[in-house]
């Protein structure tokens, strides 16, 4: 098996980085996300959060009660489109 295994493709987070974070005391999923940056890129965790949760449990961390907090928008959306969401008087 290769020595370098990527767990979050958007932010280039590897298994080694997860291990280092857990060793530094980040035992829960939200904390692990912040320390390594997984789930903060283009897909917002849709591809990596299940894998990272499993690895956290294997590493002896706290089993997450659910996925990381979902951050809207569901898909990236342009500033120009969002600028038309509200009426002029709002």
């Amino acid at each position: 098996m290769s020595d370098k295994i990527v767990v979050c493709r958007c932010e280039d987070v590897t298994t080694h980085e997860l291990e280092e974070a857990v060793r530094a005391g980040h035992r829960d999923l939200e904390s692990l996300k912040r320390y390594t940056g997984f789930g903060t890129g283009w897909c917002q965790g849709k591809q990596c959060v299940a894998l990272c949760s499993r690895l956290l449990i294997e590493l002896g961390g706290d089993a997450p009660e659910g996925p990381i907090t979902a951050r809207p928008p569901f898909h990236p959306i342009s500033v120009a489109r969002l600028a038309r969401v509200l009426g002029e008087d709002e």
């Binding site: 342009s78 600028a83 969401v85």
Partner: protein, 395 residues
């Protein structure tokens, strides 16, 4: 992947039964104070955080660090805080992605321009290079800005932005090296008093006997002080932020508009990070995101910087400001409960104030320095009716 990973997580250590100081809140403020107290030789410090590190406002703010303020105290303190920020990476051995791209405060009206000019004069008296710039110079600083809405701007090239998370971890790690006991996922349920004085803190993981408790819980501070019957004049106010897809670095300063509270900057990750004022938010502690915020922010941003219209927003989140009626913090001792201390009410700029306030609080508590500041910002000003002011609060 087929192989399982080896368990390496270290279980949380037991809570100490006794402490000289218990700090409630493991945000930037509590950790900065703990580290400064430990630096001055204070022993047996315990910090309790009810959630994970960076879970509150310390992990949810825009990372702005500026010395452009309208009150002499804030200018003086932030000048020191920025100096501490610039040494932080070297001293704490962690990269906080500090970037001094300046702060550009835009004025839409002559009245606002005049106010900024008065503040800029005060800032220059304190040795800052702040000056008022016209439309042409605004364009030099941010070529993509649509300056037609603005009459002037206040410019300090030495203000900057940091990435908030490593700042919190840097203090946390440095605290632990000095023997501070930091306990996350530990919430406070009761503050015990004996003959009116603080005698202990009851948490979800056990009781700690202590004669000093310091409340650094940001927007949660009123909930903590209420445990001993002290009502704070501050209240939580939700503030939302969002972040774009990463772009090649092009935007130098943090741009702010005090009229609608719009602000935005480019982080070292390349994202445009910003927020805007929103008067219509749910009461109380609420960290949910709203579509209305995205609408308000995107409309104001695309007007100020039309070129950003095609840029995509990736994520939004929310945190709580700790708002006081006079826009100034609540710090120092609490008359009603000897042994209780406050460091709260920072109006959404507690993050940038933490390096200097941590330093001053430790000197005040252990050496009796900075008495004037800790008197002026004390909670008792509300009981005595001497309120303060600050006009450059953003968002």
């Amino acid at each position: 992947m087929s192989a399982r990973m080896e368990p390496i997580a270290v279980p949380p250590s037991a809570l100490p039964e006794r402490a000289d100081v218990v700090i409630v809140g493991g945000g930037i403020m509590g950790l900065a104070i703990a580290w400064n107290l430990a630096q001055l030789g204070q022993e047996r410090i315990v910090v309790v955080e009810k959630s994970y590190l960076c879970s509150g406002a310390s992990g949810r703010n825009g990372g702005g660090v500026r010395a452009q303020w309208s009150s002499e105290t804030n200018v003086r303190l932030m000048k020191r805080s920025i100096a501490l920020c610039s040494d932080f990476a070297t001293k704490m051995r962690i990269n906080v992605w500090f970037r001094r791209g300046g702060y550009l405060f835009l004025a839409r009206s002559d009245a606002r321009a005049k106010q900024l000019e008065e503040s800029a004069r005060l800032q220059r008296e304190h040795g800052l290079p702040t000056r008022i710039v016209d439309r042409a110079e605004m364009k030099d600083i941010v070529p993509e800005l649509d300056t037609s809405h603005f009459v002037a701007a206040s410019w300090n090239s030495e203000d900057g932005v940091v990435f908030p998370w490593p700042f919190v971890w840097g203090y946390a790690r440095a605290c632990q090296k000095l023997g501070v006991a930091l306990h996350t996922h530990t919430s406070v349920s009761e503050i015990e008093t004996t003959n009116g004085r603080v005698s202990g803190v009851v948490t979800s993981r056990g009781r700690i006997a202590t004669e000093k408790v310091l409340v650094c819980a940001g927007a949660w501070s009123p909930e903590i002080t209420r445990m001993v019957g002290v009502e704070l004049p501050s209240h939580p106010h939700r503030h939302e932020i969002c972040s774009s897809e990463p772009l090649k670095p092009f935007l130098r300063p943090l741009v702010g508009d005090l009229a609608d509270g719009l602000y935005f900057s480019q982080s070292m990750r390349g994202e445009i990070v910003g927020g805007i004022s929103n008067a219509k938010v749910p009461e109380g502690l609420d960290q949910r995101s709203s579509m209305r915020f995205l609408g308000l922010y995107a409309r104001a941003l695309s007007r100020a910087m039309p070129v950003l219209g095609d840029v995509k927003i990736l994520r939004q989140w929310a945190g709580c400001y700790d708002i006081t009626p006079d826009g100034n913090p609540l710090v120092g001792d609490v008359d009603e409960v000897p042994g209780m201390y406050l460091m709260s009410g920072f109006m959404g700029h507690g993050f940038m104030m933490a390096p200097v306030m941590g330093e001053l609080f430790a000197r005040w508590l252990l050496h009796g320095e900075e008495r004037e500041l800790f008197e002026r910002w004390n909670l008792r000003r509300y009981r005595e009716g001497r309120l303060l002011s600050e006009t450059m609060i953003l968002g």
